[in-house]
């Protein structure tokens, strides 16, 4: 066991302004895994206003501290686990965690979120973020309990899946439930699977861009935070409660958000199917099998098939997250987390599986081995299609894998997680595997040329998300999902197959998501008007934070991440879908719609509206100046302008 280290605070006083805004702990926890040094770093109120927290803070640290030669697997890469000023306050869903790093899928910037209790526990221990660098000489986990911060021996946790890891740590510390938050990697992260994720609090996953592989490379098995004893003070407690009430009321009654309030993301199954957006069998069809009645896939139906109970995150009143027990089949009696829409898609429809019990089971296996369920769905569906069409063989894989075979999919998951046999190549992710194999295999693979994994949708019927995924600097969506778009002056609806309208919408909403992901709040509880979120932030901090400032802040964050990616060599030349990802649906509601025919025009429009240079991908000098990013001018344009 490493020596106990009390987190030492540098003596440097805060500059300029002495008063800490409400909602902040005021310190970043710094950990160097190579040297074992642990220390805290204060940040100033001015920096808080500029970078807020979450991805805003993480983007600045990433840009400042991770140079172009520091690849995702370099010890100097940073793994930033950040929350925001609303975490720990009584606003719904504010246990939020944002992971920022240079990720393993794109070797570029990453912003990926999870919830549970991590953000609140971190804040109650007195920290706004953890910045991890270096590589431990042997497997460790990070233990945080107020000022006691230790790198502890984790050799007994190696090879355990994420739920087992949390079980062991809970037992060792005698703390369970809301008393301690544990985020860990599974075997996939240990074995540097490029789409490995970080999972916490039984079912919450920061899944994108291989952040679990980064953690694995650092030999950091888990971060374990005891619910601390520090109070989180709001500048205007009554105002926070009022804003929180309004947000909750909005979520419960707003025509769009109330389905989320009641059923989480489950209603998306039927809705997206009707739109041609539910991905079926690796994009080979958009029609359900004849023996499947889509009425059985509505939210209430999905939930009533299992024994279940609520599994709410910190301060959350949504009827969203649930744990459930499988009632029948080979895994009868097993406890699983209720799949999100993405789980039903990635562990189900994308691989041709419509057996609900099997999907719920496989989805949890994926969380426990700990890979991104989206990427796993694309990889597994691709292998299944390949075996059907003959571009993969039983000899190659070691067994037969047919559409809908959840047990076989789990076997494939094991191979990938432990890099066994053919699983070693698949562990490199869709893009690398497809481009290495070439031919028919490459033609059938779903990926972006950046390497980022599309979400569990058929984006051929959802061009906004395809454009967003391909142009994003985060390893996943950067702008979507559109929420209350009229609030930022956009038309209430668009024709989803009109490239011009699509590009205008994607560009028009840029910024909102980065703002949400900087607050320490959940993506689902921020499905309210920006005005409400700004009121909550203002009451928490004492600032007068406006919708205009929130959008400007978000766009500033996007520009920093884009500058980071450009410095890493990731530019406009890879802002394209793979052949299958950008193909034309052959049936279903989007039959015949050809995104490829409008792609260049969509990019032209998007670039023009976000103020980036179409040829180089750089934010234009006037854009940087408008966003207050003059300090980036020299880096991007080579001279002071």
């Amino acid at each position: 066991m490493s020596p106990t280290a009390l987190a030492s605070t540098k003596a440097a006083p805060r500059t300029r302004t002495e008063t800490l805004p409400g909602g902040y702990a005021g310190k970043l926890l710094r950990v160097n895994l190579t040297t074992g040094k642990i220390w805290t770093q204060p940040w100033t109120p001015e920096e808080m206003r500029l970078y807020v927290g979450g991805v805003g803070l993480g983007a600045k640290i990433l840009y400042d501290e991770v140079g172009p030669r520091v690849n995702w697997d370099h010890p100097d890469n940073r793994l930033i686990l950040a929350t925001g000023p609303l975490a720990g306050l009584p606003v719904w869903g504010t246990g939020g965690l944002t992971v920022v790093t240079r990720g393993a899928m794109t070797n570029g910037a990453t912003s990926t979120q999870a919830n549970g209790f991590f953000g609140a526990c971190l804040k109650f221990s007195g920290y706004d973020a953890i910045v991890i660098q270096g590589r431990a000489p042997r497997w460790v986990y990070l233990y945080i309990n107020d000022d006691v911060v230790e790198m502890r021996d984790a050799r007994h946790l190696v090879a355990k899946d994420t739920w087992e890891c949390q079980d062991v740590l809970s037992a060792e510390h005698g703390l369970a439930g809301h008393q301690m938050s544990v985020y860990s990697i599974g075997p996939a992260g240990e074995n540097l699977v490029r789409f490995a994720a970080i999972q916490g609090d039984y079912g919450h996953v920061a899944s994108k861009n291989g952040c679990g592989a980064v953690m694995g490379k650092k030999r950091l098995k888990a971060v374990c935070i005891v619910r601390g004893t520090r109070a989180v003070a709001a500048a205007d407690p009554r105002g926070v409660i009022q804003a929180a009430d309004d947000i909750a009321h909005d979520l419960k009654t707003d025509p769009s958000a109330r389905s989320l309030y009641e059923w989480g993301t489950l209603p998306a199954l039927v809705g997206l199917y009707k739109m041609g957006v539910l991905p079926i069998k690796n994009y080979t069809t958009n029609l359900a099998p004849p023996n499947v009645n889509m009425a059985d896939w509505e939210g209430p139906k999905l939930r009533e098939g299992f024994d279940h109970r609520g599994h709410q995150c910190s301060a959350c009143g949504m009827h969203h997250c649930h744990m459930q027990v499988i009632r029948k089949g080979p895994h009868k009696g097993e406890l699983v987390d209720e799949p999100e829409y993405e789980g039903w898609a990635g562990a189900g429809w994308a691989i041709g599986c419509t057996d609900k019990e099997a999907i719920a089971w496989l989805n949890t296996r994926i969380d426990r081995a700990c890979v991104d369920v989206n990427e796993f769905g694309w990889v597994c569906g691709w292998v299944m299609e390949g075996m059907e069409k003959g571009f993969f063989t039983k000899a190659q894989l070691g067994f037969e894998l047919r559409w809908g075979d959840a047990e076989g999919a789990n076997r494939l998951l094991e191979m990938i997680s432990h890099r066994k046999g053919f699983g070693d190549l698949l562990a490199e992710g869709m893009k690398v595997a497809a481009e290495k194999l070439g031919g028919a295999a490459r033609e059938a693979a779903i990926y972006t040329l950046k390497g980022a994994s599309p979400r569990g949708h058929d984006h051929r019927a959802r061009w906004d998300e395809m454009l967003d995924t391909c142009t994003a600097s985060t390893g996943t969506l950067e702008s979507g999902i559109p929420v209350h778009v009229t609030e930022v002056g956009l038309p209430p609806r668009i024709n989803p197959f009109n490239g011009e309208e699509v590009a205008r919408q994607v560009a028009g909403i840029l910024g909102r998501r980065h703002f949400e992901d900087s607050l320490g709040a959940c993506i689902f509880t921020t499905r309210t008007r920006l005005e409400n979120m700004c009121r909550a932030l203002s009451a928490a901090t004492g600032w007068n934070y406006t919708v205009t400032e929130s959008v400007s802040f978000g766009r500033r964050t996007a520009a920093i991440l884009r500058a980071f990616n450009l410095r890493c060599g990731i530019g406009p030349e890879v802002e394209y879908p793979s052949k299958r990802y950008g193909s034309i649906p052959t049936d279903g509601p989007a039959k015949g719609q050809a995104v490829g025919e409008q792609w260049e025009k969509m990019l032209d429009t998007w670039y023009g509206l976000v103020g980036y240079d179409r040829k180089t991908g750089k934010p234009k000098p006037e854009t940087l100046k408008k966003l207050g990013l003059d300090w980036l001018l020299k880096d991007l344009w080579g001279k002071k302008r």
Partner: protein
């Protein structure tokens, strides 16, 4: 409910299909779907039928339209014959017998 009566001899019918949680706005459980036969006269458009239909259900009316009550708001997707508006139909396309208008909850989530 204030709608104009159409005599059976001159009325044609289309179907308004209300899906999943949108059924709550017309007194349903928020699941399943409801199909309602709606009469129309030749020349009436998607907009005409939807305005008359939603006029019977205040919650749906509030969710479906923007503040002007003339254009669609951002909460409910409208499809005609399983295609989103903008492909085969717009709000101002005249309806034909057996056309099916679907009201679907806007997707918000991940």
């Amino acid at each position: 409910m204030g709608e104009e009566a159409l005599s059976p001899s001159e009325s044609l019918h289309c179907t308004v299909e209300v899906v999943s949680w949108v059924t709550k706005f017309i007194g349903g459980p928020g699941a399943g779907r409801k199909e309602i036969e709606e009469p129309f006269v030749p020349g009436e458009t998607v907009r005409d039928v939807l305005q008359r239909f939603s006029g019977r259900y205040p919650e749906l009316d509030a969710a479906l339209w923007d503040a002007s009550k003339k254009e669609l708001g951002e909460h409910i997707e409208v499809m005609v014959n399983d295609a989103v508006l903008g492909l085969s139909h717009t709000l101002d396309t005249p309806l034909r017998v057996n056309d099916r208008i679907t009201l679907l909850g806007q997707y918000m989530g991940g």
